[in-house]
């Protein structure tokens, strides 16, 4: 490796620059994301645990599945569909809720934890830019968590279908009816769209804000993330007796009216007509949110440059 020492020492710093082995940015990114997964195993363990818990409950509930199916088949097609599909939607909602919580707490700790345990001094001793680091951390809630949620949810729903089919076999209730009522493929498509659109794009400013606070706060990250928002709401209420800020936040967390589904309907509600990707992609709310996210992340990158261990 170090043959330079034998060579004649002519302008050595120059000569050593020959063939600067460079690692492509994508590879640094890949390892940075892997590092996050090593550190925060809750990213996949928490949704897995929820899925396991749900399946356990479901397993007990299917004792009564035969009666339930018979009762459902007597109803009109619309109600019938809703009733049969209900547990599958519930599984998705619970797993999504789990990953949302994981995402929030992950972001709060992402740029704070490394300063608290002083490991930022180690990370900064490696040729990885602050931008790469912050982007790799942002990609966890924006990309990784939605995909993990998707995979675990689909697997859970598939297992539920298999279990139900096993119970229904030989009961007289037709198994194919179940499979047509619970269309796994259609359900998965809508789930994927919902996850990428809402959790990946619409929620992005929430995660961006949390990452920014995480890079800035010395302690009590959660309080610093929540209190300013509360303060703005209160000041607005006192000063103008309005609550635009609060309703804006509610709108953001609620998913927005332009979001995937009609208000009041559950995301994975059957009729495909609820899906309005066109409206969603052209809604100003989405793009304003993404611009704000970019600003938050840019500020987080800048802060990380200046940050020292705490």
């Amino acid at each position: 490796m170090n043959t330079q020492s034998n060579a004649i020492r002519e302008s050595p710093t120059e000569s050593q620059v020959i063939a600067p082995a460079v690692i492509p940015a994508s590879r640094r990114m890949y390892w940075s994301v892997r590092r996050e997964l090593w550190e925060s195993r809750s990213i996949y363990l928490a949704p897995l645990a929820v899925a396991a818990l749900f399946l356990f409950g479901f397993l007990i509930s299917i004792i009564h599945l035969r009666e339930k199916m018979r009762a459902a088949l007597a109803l009109d097609p619309m109600r019938q569909h809703e009733l049969i599909k209900q547990p599958y939607d519930l599984a998705a909602v619970l797993i999504m809720a789990a990953t949302f919580v994981v995402g929030v707490f992950y972001c709060l700790d992402a740029l704070h934890g490394e300063r608290r345990d002083r490991s930022i001094l180690f990370w900064k001793s490696l040729p990885v830019s602050d931008l790469t680091t912050v982007l790799s951390k942002a990609s966890i809630p924006l990309v990784v968590l939605p995909l993990v949620t998707f995979a675990i949810t689909v697997a859970t729903q598939f297992i539920m279908l298999l279990l139900s089919s096993a119970v229904l076999l030989g009961s007289g209730v037709s198994v194919p009816t179940l499979w047509t009522q619970v269309s796994l493929f259609q359900m998965s498509l809508m789930l994927l769209y919902h996850l990428l659109a809402i959790h990946g794009l619409w929620y992005a400013p929430i995660y961006g804000w949390l990452l920014l606070v995480s890079a800035w706060a010395r302690r009590a990250v959660f309080l610093w993330a929540a209190l300013p928002l509360l303060a703005i709401g209160i000041v607005e209420k006192i000063a103008f007796n309005t609550s635009h800020f609060g309703s804006m936040l509610g709108h953001r967390i609620g998913g927005g009216p332009e979001a995937v589904t009609a208000p009041g309907a559950f995301p994975m509600d059957p009729p495909m007509t609820h899906l309005t990707p066109g409206n969603f992609l052209f809604s100003p709310g989405l793009w304003i949110g993404l611009a704000i996210t970019a600003a938050f992340l840019g500020a987080a990158v800048r802060l990380r440059r200046y940050r020292e261990p705490i």
């Binding site: 330079q4 710093t13 050593q16 001793s125 490696l126």
Partner: protein
């Protein structure tokens, strides 16, 4: 091109001036000891060199501005800033994977062979290792990187003497060659005395002493003075005088060896003694200025 070049390097935290107009030039292939009392500005100066903190003045490390180009600089610079900064959750194998994944000059086989000499298991997490083992692991990671500059800021603080000795031994035997530069700060001056090629003292944000070890040996002499010669010796204006077992030891700067030999036993002072003398002089000057 010098490895590190600073002109008028300055850094203030509010009203506290941590680094106050430091000029310094470290040539390639040197092992520089940066020595100073607590709060002298050592770590701040090193942080500026490593691109961890913004600064005023001019600073070039391997021809780059460390603050704006930290990530590129880190391809050629390695540092151990303080002990135990490896994340506690990481496994040894993961640390090897990660550094290998992001660092173009990391030689995994080399790191593995360093680790083979220790009792560190690949499957262990850092939190399960003793403090000494964490330092060994960090050193193994760093030594497997073909860097041009290695900066060590108190790398052995809190380690027992066996680990400390081993640390500097492996650094010298397995890592250092004439094309690399090492900058090290420590309070255990006497342990690195034989390792250094250059020494700098920093006091209140300023470099107060900058000398190669050869110069130290030729320029500074310590004399254990025969009691009857004490007055004659003091007439030569020693930098410092101290008493050991009832005998005076005087430290001289740029006084002829022959002349001193007549006064007592002459030997080269240790860096620690030189440091105390220089710091004493600084304090004296500060007092003088205050009066």
């Amino acid at each position: 091109m010098a490895c590190i070049e600073a002109r008028g390097l300055r850094k203030a935290f509010g009203t506290t001036i941590a680094v106050d107009g430091v000029n310094l030039r470290v040539e390639e292939g040197r092992i520089l000891g940066l020595i100073g009392p607590n709060g002298a500005g050592k770590t701040t100066a090193l942080n500026a060199i490593l691109g961890l903190t913004p600064y005023q003045g001019e600073l070039r490390v391997l021809g780059r501005d460390p603050w704006t180009a930290r990530d590129q600089l880190m391809r050629d610079v390695c540092f151990i800033s303080d002990v135990a900064v490896l994340p506690r959750w990481i496994r040894v194998s993961q640390a090897l994977d990660y550094v290998g994944g992001v660092h173009p000059r990391f030689d995994r086989a080399k790191a593995e062979s360093f680790l083979a000499k220790t009792t560190i298991r690949r499957t262990s997490k850092v939190r399960e290792l003793s403090k000494g083992m964490v330092a060994q692991l960090h050193l193994a990671l760093v030594m497997a990187i073909d860097a041009k500059l290695l900066v060590l800021d108190e790398p052995t603080l809190g380690l027992d003497i066996l680990y400390r000795k081993q640390f500097y031994d492996s650094l010298l035997n397995d890592y250092f060659d004439r094309s690399r530069t090492i900058v090290v700060t420590t309070h255990q001056v006497e342990e690195i005395q034989n390792v250094l090629t250059d020494v700098m003292f920093i006091h209140r944000g300023r470099i107060v002493f900058d000398c190669s070890m050869e110069q130290v040996e030729s320029r500074y002499l310590e004399v254990m003075v025969h009691p009857e010669q004490a007055a004659a010796a003091r007439a030569l204006k020693p930098m410092q005088e101290r008493q050991v077992f009832g005998r005076s030891i005087l430290l001289f700067e740029a006084v002829d060896r022959q002349q001193l030999a007549a006064l007592g036993d002459v030997h080269t002072p240790s860096i620690a003694d030189l440091f105390v003398a220089v710091m004493g002089k600084q304090a004296g000057e500060a007092q003088g200025a205050a009066r």
